[in-house]
């Protein structure tokens, strides 16, 4: 039948054209130095010419179905297939595939979406990423969607193109209906309909401040953190879940210095299974790859984070109670299960695992950690599962007795990680949660800093690295003091890495040494903070 064959050939031509469009958009993103985002569109280009879809659409067209309908129906069969697989990434691919089908139909019908030509803010229920890439730069001023999620491709793409975007704003369409002007603040998540002049001024001021900040920070991002004269400091991120990995990588983290696994254990009726834990650890390890370590902290539970399924009595002094590695005696299986999950995850991800334990107070605690580690590996190997040769094993230094015994501990483990929040509360004997004692809560107190200096000296003598993963590491003034004391790795929330990187880049190693000397000689935290802030201010 001539018409059937003609329809079939039109489908093939339209599919090729759509693929070419998507490849051109991908090339544009590559030019903008966005290879990661380009991949989304390159995969879509392959979908446009996927024989499973196009052959099925052609078959339907030969039977007399309208070519456009045939494409949409054939794509839907595959989209349902993808969406049915239990995997968030593949579910997102189903949305990408429907977007591709719509594009082929537009080519077939010779229609164009009415994309705005003048600078505009787009308000919509949802918006496919390929359309976002298609809009000329400068035309799309902002994006506000009622649907979507922060991890949807369109949100990721908007972020990387620097387009202010608000997603998942329920009720958005009703709220802005009839408005003559709309303002979008992608950072605060605000959408303002018909803003007053004063409101506009506030938004414009914010935009100017952030633009300046982002230009300064992004100029350094991707480059390793270093002082003005080239002394390297590694910056890593603290995470609670593998979902935070993209944000950490985007912020230029060289790995994870603290993966707080306790969030897997909280708010539930029974302990997470080995499989569930393995899945989470593996995702984190694969997100960072073999060259960026992910330091997994064994669950720091007990204490103030009490867990019903551990069956432990309530303690009058939870911060001085059975928590973290201390659970290794009463709840040995809990830690063994976690360690097996880590060994197995690393085996599947093809990386060397990094692990540390909190609340280590004695040599016996460190021995317990090493024993549990080796016992877990033997169990994994006995079960015939792939398992790495070694696990880089460290202890957190946050209990004064561990700091005092640091020379001996340093010869047993591969690294130290100092938790400044708990170290401060234990050195100064002041409950972190007691509002009457906040004056004791400054990790810049010389007693804490002298302890840190002694721990660094012990680590240097044994040739092991020292990291700091407390809040002090993410504070620009604190980071300068720590770097001056000789800490080689700072791990903090991803959002604070830019500020720390900028602070370190503005000073020389000699200035940091002088700051450290002054800090160690001080007798109170205020003096240390003033000295650090003076140096911080001087470089601006």
């Amino acid at each position: 039948m001539a018409s059937g064959e003609e329809a079939e050939s039109r489908i093939h031509t339209a599919a090729e054209t759509a693929a070419a469009q998507l490849n051109a958009l991908a090339a544009r993103l590559c030019e903008l130095n966005r290879p990661g985002d380009a991949e989304i569109l390159e995969a879509q280009a392959l979908m446009a010419v996927d024989p499973a879809i196009i052959d099925e659409a052609a078959r339907r067209a030969r039977e007399g179905v309208d070519p456009g309908v045939a494409i949409v129906d054939a794509a839907e069969v595959s989209a349902v297939l993808l969406a049915g697989i239990e995997d968030d990434l593949l579910a997102a691919r189903a949305a990408d595939l429907r977007d591709v089908a719509a594009r082929i139909v537009r080519v077939l019908n010779g229609t164009h979406l009415h994309l705005p030509a003048a600078p505009s803010i787009v308000i919509a229920d949802d918006f496919p990423p390929s359309l976002l890439a298609e809009m000329p730069r400068g035309v799309l001023l902002g994006l506000a969607l009622a649907g979507g999620s922060p991890t949807a491709h369109v949100a990721i793409l908007a972020r990387s193109l620097g387009i202010p975007a608000v997603v998942a704003a329920r009720g958005l369409l009703d709220a802005v209906r009839g408005a003559a002007t709309v303002a979008v603040d992608g950072e605060s998540g605000e959408v303002v309909a018909d803003p007053e002049i004063a409101e506009l001024q506030v938004l414009a001021d914010r935009q100017a401040v952030r633009g300046e900040r982002d230009r300064a920070a992004s100029a350094r991002r991707g480059r390793p953190a270093a002082t003005s004269d080239g002394k390297r400091i590694s910056l890593l991120a603290n995470i609670r879940s593998p979902d935070e990995a993209p944000r950490a990588l985007e912020a230029g983290a060289e790995g994870v210095g603290l993966y707080r696994t306790e969030f897997l254990f909280l708010r539930r009726q029974s302990a997470p299974s080995e499989e569930e834990q393995m899945g989470a650890y593996r995702r984190a390890m694969e997100a960072f790859g073999p060259d960026r370590p992910v330091v997994i902290r064994l669950a720091d539970i007990g204490g103030d984070k009490s867990i019903p399924y551990l069956g432990r009595p309530e303690e009058p002094n939870p911060f001085l109670g059975v928590r973290a590695i201390r659970l290794g005696h009463e709840s040995r299986d809990l830690l063994l299960t976690q360690l097996r999950a880590i060994w197995r995850a690393a085996g599947l991800a093809g990386v060397t695992p990094h692990v540390m334990a909190a609340m280590v107070a004695t040599i016996a605690d460190a021995c317990l950690l090493l024993d549990l580690r080796d016992e877990a590996r033997a169990q994994v190997c006995a079960a015939g599962q792939p398992c790495p040769e070694r696990m880089v094993t460290g202890v957190m230094i946050e209990v004064p007795s561990a700091a005092i015994m640091a020379p001996e501990l340093a010869r047993m483990v591969d690294f130290f990680s100092i938790g400044t929040n708990d170290l401060t509360q234990y050195v100064l004997a002041a409950d972190r949660g007691n509002p009457s004692l906040v004056r004791f809560q400054d990790a810049l107190h010389p007693a804490v800093l002298r302890t840190v200096a002694a721990v660094i000296a012990a680590a240097n003598a044994a040739g092991i690295p020292v990291a700091v993963c407390g809040e002090l590491a993410g504070d620009p003034a604190g980071a300068m003091v720590l770097a001056g004391l000789g800490v080689g790795e700072l791990s903090a929330e991803a959002g604070s890495l830019d500020g720390v990187r900028a602070a370190l880049a503005g000073v020389s190693a000699a200035q940091l040494d002088a700051l450290a000397a002054e800090s160690l000689a001080a007798t109170d935290a205020e003096t240390v903070r003033a000295a650090a802030n003076e140096l911080l201010g001087a470089r601006r």
């Binding site: 991949e39 390159e42 995969a43 392959l46 996927d50 024989p51 499973a52 879809i53 297939l81 995997d87």
Partner: protein
């Protein structure tokens, strides 16, 4: 017809980027090529279909079978095998 069974060593299995790279590589051969996830026991997929390759749900550590049939089947097996298992891991079958 030639085939090979191997363990996938690609970072992240055959999701997203590696899947696209696999399909693009397969496009370069004239042989008919199919991919089967042996570990999950799913039916084999056309190596030219990105949806088929993604749906195979191949994770790192899974065993897969690649079957090629055509004039350049030998080269196809070697190239695609190396893509999934890493260089030097493909001995044929």
């Amino acid at each position: 017809m030639r085939s090979i069974e191997l363990e996938v060593r690609t970072q992240g299995g055959l999701h997203a980027r590696p899947a696209a790279a696999f399909v693009r590589a397969a496009t370069g051969f004239r042989s008919a090529i199919r991919l089967e996830n042996v570990t999950l026991g799913r039916p084999s997929a056309d190596a030219l279909s990105i949806v088929g390759v993604l749906s195979a749900g191949v994770e790192r550590g899974h065993r897969v079978r690649i079957v090629a049939d055509g004039v350049d089947e030998e080269g196809a097996i070697e190239a695609l095998g190396e893509l999934l298992a890493g260089p030097g891991q493909v001995g044929g079958e």
